[in-house]
Amino acid sequence: MRSSNRVDLPLPAAPSGMPTPASVGVIALNRMAFGPAAGDLAAFNALAGDDDSRLQAYVDQQLNPAGINDAAADARIASSGFSTLDKTLPQLWADHVVADPPWETRIRPVVETQLATFIRAVYSRRQLFEVLVEFWHDHFSVFGWEFYEAPAWVHYDRDVIRAHTLGNFRQLLEANAKSTDMLIYLDNWVSSQDGPNENYAREVMELHTLGAGGYFGTIPRSSVPDGPGGVKAGFVEEDVFSVARCLTGWSLSADPYWDLDSGNGTYLYRANWHDNSAKNVLGVDLPANQPAEKDGQDVLDILANHPTTARHICYKLCRRLIGDFPPDSVVDTAAAVFLAQSSAPDQIARVVRTILLSNEFRTTWGSKVKRPFEIVASAMRAGTMNFLFSEFDDDTGTFEWLYYNTGQRLFGWHPPNGYPDVGEAWVSSGPRVMSWRLTNWLVDVRDDFDTYRLDAFTQTPPGVRSANDLADYWIDRILGRPMSVSDRQEVVDLMAQGFNPTFDLPLDTDSDLRERLQSMVGLIFMSPEFLWR
């Protein structure tokens, strides 16, 4: 409804209503994890004697995922009945492309990757790794639910994104440039000297490396200011054309070339498709007739080591890990590490470490809101939900449908720029109402034995039985911090329903009360406080 007090000037809403400041533990578990699971805050606080040391220990632990025992999540994945996650790329191609199976089989690799991603977000102890996997999927966004993209999705997720998530950006960029999914999605696999396709060439600069801030439009290259080392500060249309030519011949196995079903899905350099003429990229001359792939490798070197790229990547990482409008100070510090460590095999981990140990990280709260993926993952984590993400479980189908409607279907963003990562994009009524629908379903869905899959009662300590105590226990459990007095009162009132909130409720014998407790937990999931990060 439109309110009657319209303003005359096009100004945004005034800042106000800020959330309750959170502890360092809550900040860490909401921004380098998908929210606190039961016991996570206590474990964080037990890491050391003060917040600084705790954060440092937690960051060190999380940046070494191999050192974290993740048997529980692995076991869940192993028992979900997945059949594609261990296939090599040629196997995926043979089974899901060449065999020309029915659609549901064809897309099984992306379906199973999606379900495994939910399992890991909810149950994996390598939470920072999962947060960053999501980041890189957004950064190198590909619409996965397509005819040729879906079959290779296991490869894209496992061998391209996950293999380099904490690694070296230049290597990640090259793996991405040569990946089956990106080659097909942005058309470079068909780009030849006869008519270079500009699709990937443009986006690799505008989205993957230099960023839109490094785009100078259609002015002549000579008008772009010089950056360090004589490399231009950004790119122009001429560079889009020349990079497209540099990358001609970066293709996929197939014979005849146009029939992807005749190949095995792997990268193939086609020397006879390559434009061998001399080129200039961002002011750097590339001579004619370079060795195989050299033009493209030079382009990736120039882009990956460019200060504008460092700033773009670090800005986005800070926006993901700190807030929608990260301060320049931390972006600049991270960008300096990005450039200094450009050859390090753990370059990305070092940059992330710099960001997470910055003052800005530990002192900023409420400058981000949860997107639907974080809403659902954090609700399931907080409620220790026992959910089987499996194609063979009817509730998983319902879950997928409800989640789909939130607007953040995994690998489901059509354009190549990835899901928006600022709160403003997610606060309209569509994602909000659809997220409420999903979390309220989570507290109501039961297994074959009629047990709630997110069973609040069995997780509530025996001594906690009054409406006041039940509210306080679950608020702390879910948020790790207090709610405002009035919001807490709403939670209490929902549970008390007019009775004295200090009286113990006979939850043990009254299933209606246990159902009310489920709705009380659901109310916390739908509250404003639950959405801040």
């Binding site: 100004l11 945004p12 058309d187 008519g195 396709n197 500009e198 909000r432 009310r516 489920q518």
Partner: protein, 452 residues
């Protein structure tokens, strides 16, 4: 729930919305309050990815036909045979799959505007879309969209409207960025508070109203609006919508979204602005496969929408309807080697409605000879897209606050695309808005930092 029947009173509903329920079937109230313009509905359709306008209305004669055939050896729309272009006007034809649009054109309800777009020289999807939708070419940090600012500055609107704006789709379009009164949804049938233990849903919903009403952060304000949206859909929208006048919407997302908009218009909720998208136009490859599919969806959906609303007498809604169709840029004149076209520049727009001077092609055709192309590559832009939108704003929506809606745009003159009353454009002050209002607002609304 917002439950009227069972309890006899509204639980969790906004009393204000319930109070407006009785007045909704009163278009006269709008007319008296703000003049005709207040009862107008503008539907803004964005074709994401950059439609190849030269496939929708290709040149079919003159020297440009020769240039076109040379540039598009594999993608040209032929002049003869079963896939021949339909005759549109003079040197221009229409894609053979767009026959449903030809009906609208020949009835005088549909107009094309050629060679429109951004005067900014960019071939980036994301820059172009943000520039256009925020209404500030060259600036992407503007915190509000052009439609948001139209709604804020429109003097003709009554103070209270049930649903002033509707954004169809997963997310609210950037043209409505920062608008807190917009209802955003995909499907009204599932836009409902119908999960969770049913017994406690009314109590949950009442609690959420109080929780989100207790403060005025962006999250709180938008949460309250989400609850309002639930009330509105629940109170007014029925599940079984039957289109009128034999209109047959395609069973596509786009067709279904348009049918929802038609339903909302007929419900007389005061819908003034609606936005929706049709994506998939970024045809770098396989254009000859995709373009017919996309044009079929676009054409049949628009025809069904217009037919649905174009009844006689009291069921005629098209006399207060203006639909505008736009896209971020046109495509490269010369096709690439992959049955596709890369990013270009100038493009067409479409305007549809009961007061459109249709059946004609507006704008200035710059030509397709090498020397006439933008940078020698693309169709040039001869009409700023803001000129087209400003004409609709002024002549149909009665809002002349052009300087607020398109800051620093200053050379509007009507092309004659729609009929209506001319008002002198109010350009406001260009620079102060930007230095004082836009840049600082963005982060202030969100950023929260503890003392270091």
């Amino acid at each position: 729930m917002c439950d009227i029947n069972r309890r006899g009173f509204m639980v969790g509903c906004s009393a204000a919305i319930a109070g407006l329920a009785g007045s909704r079937f009163n278009t006269l109230a709008f007319a008296q309050s703000g003049g005709v313009a207040a009862s107008e509905t503008m539907v803004v359709i964005f074709l994401r990815g950059g439609i190849d306008g030269l496939s929708l209305i290709p040149p079919i004669g003159g020297t440009d036909r020769g240039h076109y055939e040379t540039a598009r050896p594999g993608l040209q729309i032929p002049l003869t045979g079963p896939d021949a272009a339909l005759a549109l006007e003079g040197q221009f034809g229409l894609h053979p799959g767009a026959a449903p649009l030809l009906d609208l054109y020949q009835n005088g309800d549909l107009a094309f505007v050629t060679a429109t777009g951004l005067t900014e020289a960019t071939r980036s999807h994301f820059d172009s879309m943000e520039f256009m939708e925020l209404g500030t070419p060259g600036i992407k940090t503007t915190p509000t969209g052009w439609l948001t600012r139209h709604l804020q500055t429109s003097a003709g609107l009554p103070p209270e409207i049930i649903m002033p704006s509707l954004a169809m789709g997963d997310l609210q379009q950037a043209s409505l960025r920062g608008d807190r009164d917009t209802v955003n949804l995909v499907d009204p049938d599932i836009f409902a508070f119908t999960t969770g233990p049913w017994r406690w849903r009314p109590a949950q919903r009442a609690s959420l109203r109080r929780m989100y009403g207790a403060d005025d952060s962006v999250l709180h304000v938008t949460g309250t609006k989400a609850l309002d949206a639930l009330d509105i859909v629940e109170l007014f929208v029925t599940d079984d919508y039957t289109p009128a006048n034999g209109a047959a919407y395609p069973s596509t997302d786009f067709g279904e979204h348009l049918s929802v908009i038609a339903q909302m218009i007929k419900l007389d909720l005061g819908l003034h602005v609606a936005t929706l998208d049709l994506g998939g136009w970024d045809t770098h490859d396989s254009q000859s496969y995709w373009i017919p599919i996309l044009i079929d969806d676009l054409s049949r959906s628009l025809n069904a929408f217009y037919t649905d609303l174009n009844g006689a007498g009291a069921t005629n809604y098209t006399d207060r309807l203006t639909v505008v169709v736009m896209s971020e840029f046109g495509r490269r004149f010369v096709q690439n080697n992959d049955d596709g076209t890369d990013h270009g520049h100038g493009n067409l727009m479409m305007v549809l409605g009961g007061n459109v001077n249709g059946g004609q092609i507006h704008g200035t055709w710059p030509g397709l000879a090498p020397g006439q192309l933008f940078e020698g590559l693309d169709l040039a832009v001869t009409t700023d897209y803001r000129q087209v939108l400003s004409e609709i704003l002024i002549r149909r929506l009665g809002n002349n606050r052009i300087g607020d809606i398109f800051p620093c745009y200053g050379d509007y003159s009507p092309l004659g695309i729609v009929s209506g009353l001319d008002l002198p454009p109010d350009y406001g002050a260009c620079s102060s808005l930007f230095s004082d209002g836009f840049e600082t607002g963005t982060s202030a609304a969100w950023h929260y930092s503890l003392p270091l």
